[in-house]
């Protein structure tokens, strides 16, 4: 069936709610309103206020109570309304959620999912367009994943809910409304990257919101005579290093494309791994096309500030000039 990512997520959560009574959703405005993006539309009506919980306005409370619910055997799926509002929950995420399984030597299992609409490109105001993935990917004990298509959204949200590890589930909000075909069979484990386009000359590595832009850039580069391989990372922690490195060993060139700021963005870690594992294969340094080391700009500037096709092409040229 053709679904938008919002609908795919909605359907994925619906199935999780149906198949396991321990699954519950908790967040601000997710019930009656169905979430500001309508991702949870209709779920409170069908599963009740106890399973789709409209919470008080407090992110520490959302994550902290999800931890307690998980300790009692539940599988809570939290929604943080926007990327920029996750920070009040960071103490619970970093010092508690990520560490309690370890602290308890495995006795306490915390299958908590934290859904966060993330990234820019929708013309929004401050705090509504951020890319906080580094903060979580740097935190041992968390899984961090993101989807770029309705199909992956549908599959991955269910895999995340089924996972016994706490998982930060990043939803690229500017891809929420694009439709795609969704079938039911999971074709890939949650922690695997996907080669979304094969090629021989250069590897483009992207995830979430930049995958589509990157694919467009790959088309354009192909027109200029470069055979481009595109990898959708999907899992940001752990990273499927093998898929990435195998590709770059073949192509000898790599670009990493993300919206988060350059310094300490995912690109840094991916680059460090590539240069380590594919040292003798690299024809050019790994290049990073990313948001800049500034706060996210006012929306009138976001198009230029975000990685776009032109910047990716220009970096491709630079790579081939080595």
């Amino acid at each position: 069936m053709m679904l938008s990512m919002v609908k795919a997520l909605n359907d994925g959560m619906r199935r999780a709610l149906e198949s396991d009574r321990r699954v519950l959703l908790i967040g601000e405005d997710i019930g009656r309103l169905g979430g500001v993006f309508r991702t949870t539309d209709g779920l409170q009506k069908d599963f009740g206020e106890d399973r789709v919980v409209d919470s008080p306005l407090g992110e520490a409370g959302i994550v902290g109570s999800a931890i307690g619910l998980a300790m009692r055997g539940y599988r809570p799926v939290c929604e943080i309304q926007f990327d920029g509002f996750v920070y009040p929950a960071v103490n619970q995420i970093i010092t508690q959620l990520a560490k309690i399984r370890h602290r308890s030597a495995g006795a306490v299992c915390l299958p908590v999912v934290i859904r966060i609409p993330f990234g820019g490109g929708i013309g929004s105001i401050e705090h509504h367009s951020e890319s906080p993935e580094t903060y979580f990917a740097h935190t041992a004990g968390l899984k961090v994943v993101t989807c770029s298509t309705p199909q992956d959204a549908h599959t991955m949200i269910r895999q995340a809910i089924a996972s016994d590890d706490p998982t930060i589930f990043l939803e690229p909000k500017r891809r929420y409304w694009a439709k795609g075909d969704v079938t039911d069979a999971p074709d890939l484990a949650l922690d695997k990257a996907r080669i979304v386009r094969s090629g021989n000359d250069i590897t483009f590595i992207a995830y979430g919101p930049t995958v589509d832009t990157t694919l467009q850039a790959a088309e354009a580069a192909e027109a200029q005579g470069h055979s481009v391989e595109v990898i959708d990372l999907r899992s940001l922690s752990p990273v499927d290093t093998e898929t990435v490195v195998d590709s770059v060993r073949r192509t000898g060139r790599a670009l990493v494309i993300h919206e988060a700021s350059l310094s300490h963005g995912m690109g840094a870690e991916i680059t460090a791994r590539i240069q380590h594992e594919a040292f003798y294969f690299l024809e050019a340094p790994v290049l990073r096309i990313t948001g800049y080391d500034t706060p996210y700009p006012p929306s009138r500037l976001e198009h230029d500030w975000l990685p776009n096709v032109e910047r990716i092409l220009s970096a491709t040229d630079r790579s081939f000039r080595y």
């Binding site: 601000e28 405005d29 019930g31 009656r32 309103l33 169905g34 500001v36 409209d54 919470s55 008080p56 306005l57 407090g58 520490a60 409370g61 920029g84 509002f85 920070y87 009040p88 013309g123 929004s124 105001i125 401050e126 705090h127 350059l262 310094s263 800049y292 080391d293 500034t294 706060p295 996210y296 700009p297 006012p298 929306s299 009138r300 500037l301 230029d304 500030w305 032109e310 910047r311 220009s314």
Partner: protein, 374 residues
């Protein structure tokens, strides 16, 4: 003063102006009308509402990305703002357009944030009105810190009316649930800081009714921290003015913090992007529209003979002029330059960032050239 019992609990609701426009000015809360420019209050109510409706129109026309409407909350904002002295500092949320106007912030500058041309829009020190804060509750702690500075500047309890300073922090009912807001209450209480927390309980936090945040009236929260709380009719501009004036005075004189709950109603949806019909009944909204804060003040001024038709038509003219200014001014707001994201990120721009800025600038310029040449 009338103490009205509400369904939410037996907290008295202080009122000076009844919904039918009758003033009852002496009670626990009182106001000496000779100290109040009631016509200015009315004018600001009207201008505030007009600013709001113009902004909504501009949003519909695509000139703004979003607008958080204050419709219904004019009295709370104008009343509170009129209690301020120049030296007082204000920490707003994102909905205090009325306070901004009363404070003298150019209303056009309020639009930039929602037009996407800026993250701020005005200099907070110009009118002692801080930038809007979008992260719920965060500004309450800034207010506390600022008040700590005021104390250290000996600008509290000196008896010098031009020197003694208070801080007015706005927050919504939803903000009562954030940990940071409650920390602000603790800091203010233990240090007896000159800060007044003005909570517009508009009964909704997006789709969450007040009952999601609390079982008891907001004003009572303060007692749990050891400082006074008071609940006023937020649609009564005189009560809001009186309560805020009392609280600010106490703060300036060293009497410590106060929490004011102004019980009001968010008549429009949360923002222009929200659809309130999904979570509340039209009947509820209608009921509150019936308690309109402007009508009440209009009746009061007319019946008491405090204003004549000329005054009202003059206000209407000012309102039209404001609307015209906003329409032109909004479209004329400067487009941000390519390098804006890099500027002011640091006091000293690091070399690496300067490099990124140059690269970005050159890249955008080259794009524009190539577009131009096509």
């Amino acid at each position: 003063m009338a103490e009205v019992q509400t369904t939410e609990g037996n907290e008295p609701l202080h009122q000076l102006l009844t919904p039918d426009g009758t003033a009852e000015l002496d009670g626990t809360l009182s106001l000496d009308l000779t100290t109040v420019d009631v016509r200015a209050l009315y004018r600001d109510l009207v201008l505030t509402r007009r600013l709001d409706s113009e902004a909504i129109a501009l949003q519909r026309q695509g000139e703004l990305g979003l607008w958080p409407s204050l419709l219904g909350q004019e009295a709370a904002q104008v009343g509170a703002a009129h209690a301020l002295l120049d030296q007082d500092m204000v920490f707003p949320t994102y909905r205090e357009h009325g306070v901004a106007c009363c404070r003298g912030v150019d209303p056009i500058s309020l639009l930039g944030l929602f037009r996407g041309t800026t993250l701020g829009g005005w200099d907070p020190y110009d009118r002692n009105f801080n930038l809007y804060t979008l992260v719920i509750g965060a500004q309450t702690l800034h207010a506390v810190g600022y008040a700590m500075g005021v104390v250290r500047d000996d600008a509290v309890g000196s008896g010098d009316a031009d020197r003694d300073t208070a801080v007015l922090a706005f927050l919504g009912d939803g903000a009562l649930s954030e940990g940071e807001t409650n920390e602000a209450f603790i800091w203010a209480a233990t240090q007896q800081l000159p800060v007044v927390f003005f909570c517009q309980n508009n009964q909704w936090a997006i789709s969450a009714p007040y009952s999601t945040q609390s079982r008891i009236p907001a004003a009572r929260r303060a007692a749990g921290f050891g400082f006074p709380g008071i609940r006023v009719d937020g649609n009564d501009v005189l009560a809001c003015l009186a309560a805020t004036r009392d609280a600010l005075r106490r703060a300036r004189s060293g009497g410590g913090p106060t929490l004011i709950e102004a019980l009001t109603y968010r008549v429009n949806a949360h923002t222009t992007a929200d659809d309130a019909s999904r979570y509340r009944s039209a009947a509820e909204t209608e009921e509150w529209t019936g308690r309109d804060p402007l009508t009440r003040m209009h009746t009061f001024l007319s019946t008491e003979g405090l204003a004549d038709p000329d005054f009202f038509s003059d206000v209407d003219k000012q309102s039209d002029a404001l609307a015209e200014r906003l329409r032109t001014g909004c479209r004329a707001l400067a487009e941000p330059g390519t390098t804006l994201p890099f500027e002011h990120t640091y006091a000293d721009m690091p070399a690496e960032l300067r490099h990124q800025m140059r690269e970005h600038h050159d890249f955008v310029a080259s794009m524009e050239r190539s577009e131009a040449s096509q």
